[in-house]
Symmetry: C3
Subunit: 148 residues, 3 copies
């Protein structure tokens, strides 16, 4: 099962919280228990987990990444966005999260974020899902025999 | 198949080796061949692979992370642990490792570590497993049809 | 389904593009739709996505990583390659990419790279594949019943 999320990022560097949208996709495919694979098919954006309660944390993260990989650095790549490629590589492009009770098994303070380093622009997240017990929550949950 | 490991980290910043415990979980579920998914549901801890032979490497890693993301930096997040969130995001929260012969396919010098950046405290690692040939090693291994 | 790629890296620090070789493995196993898991069983090499069009980007990345984690730093690990371990940990050891139409669902500018930080040497990438519709592209594509 595949789905592509389209995300319009709102500034040059930004963490866009996509947690609700990913959980909505799981619900629409009735994935109750399984694995959710998130992949970002871009070179200047990544995917990561961060706290979603205090927005200052996103600001702190992006500012510190700018300090670690300044855009002003002398890079060879002529387009002037080498820093965005490096930041995206450090954040990473794939994230795999187990699914239980129809939701990502995120911790209480966790959210899933598209990390934009060269926006604003329209981005895609490829969502793949594997369901290991595609029962809906309305059904009585009996102990199903494990198939694998 | 899911299991949650509970790990009591022993200092503020520390790499806790959980390799043996993860392999024990695989064994208890008789996962002989398949995939092991590790996910850390915390915002100030991550999961990573590192060498497990020389403990100096963990010290070098943690000290260098402190140099890259100093706690003393001026951050906005009021709790004073922004540095721990940034370090955890750089390390990452998910790790996926193939399983063969009932064990993680780790290299000779590799171990799996919970990376604690805001301890000491009790942490959780969510372990999901998919078995593609749930045969026990006692059975004669014939070429079983792949179930996927 | 497992396969091990052998990669001879060509310098001390280098991003080796393995995209074509991974897609060849998917084709040889007739994985048309599914998930591809890549794992590097080494402590001084990692796996990552980066742009594959402009080779300057690999140079920029490696040079900037050298600036962030200099080999000259005073580290405790006696072998003198602590910097390579730290770089590999930051890049990461596992990467999971969906497969569609018999290929990794990479973006237009993306390639998959083994990130060598302590070469040149022979390296391995463990490739695991899960096929969710193991049809070949020659067959007429009918809507197969989902098995999970």
């Amino acid at each position: 099962m595949y789905e592509r999320l389209s995300i319009v990022t709102r500034s040059q560097e930004r963490l866009e919280d996509i947690t609700t949208r990913v959980n909505d996709v799981l619900r629409s495919h009735e994935v109750n228990e399984g694995i959710c694979y998130l992949f970002v098919p871009h070179t200047t954006a990544g995917i990561m987990v961060n706290e979603n309660a205090d927005p200052h944390l996103a600001t702190d993260f992006l500012e510190h990444m700018r300090a670690l990989v300044p855009a002003s650095e002398h890079f060879r790549h002529a387009e002037g966005n080498s820093h965005a490629h490096i930041k995206a590589a450090l954040v990473g492009h794939s994230l795999v999260i187990p699914v239980e009770d129809g939701q990502l098994t995120l911790g209480r303070w966790q959210g899933v974020f598209l990390a934009e380093f060269d926006g604003p622009q329209e981005r895609t997240v490829v969502i793949s899902m594997q369901s290991t017990s595609p029962i809906t929550r309305e059904e009585p949950v009996t102990r199903a025999p494990r198939r694998r």
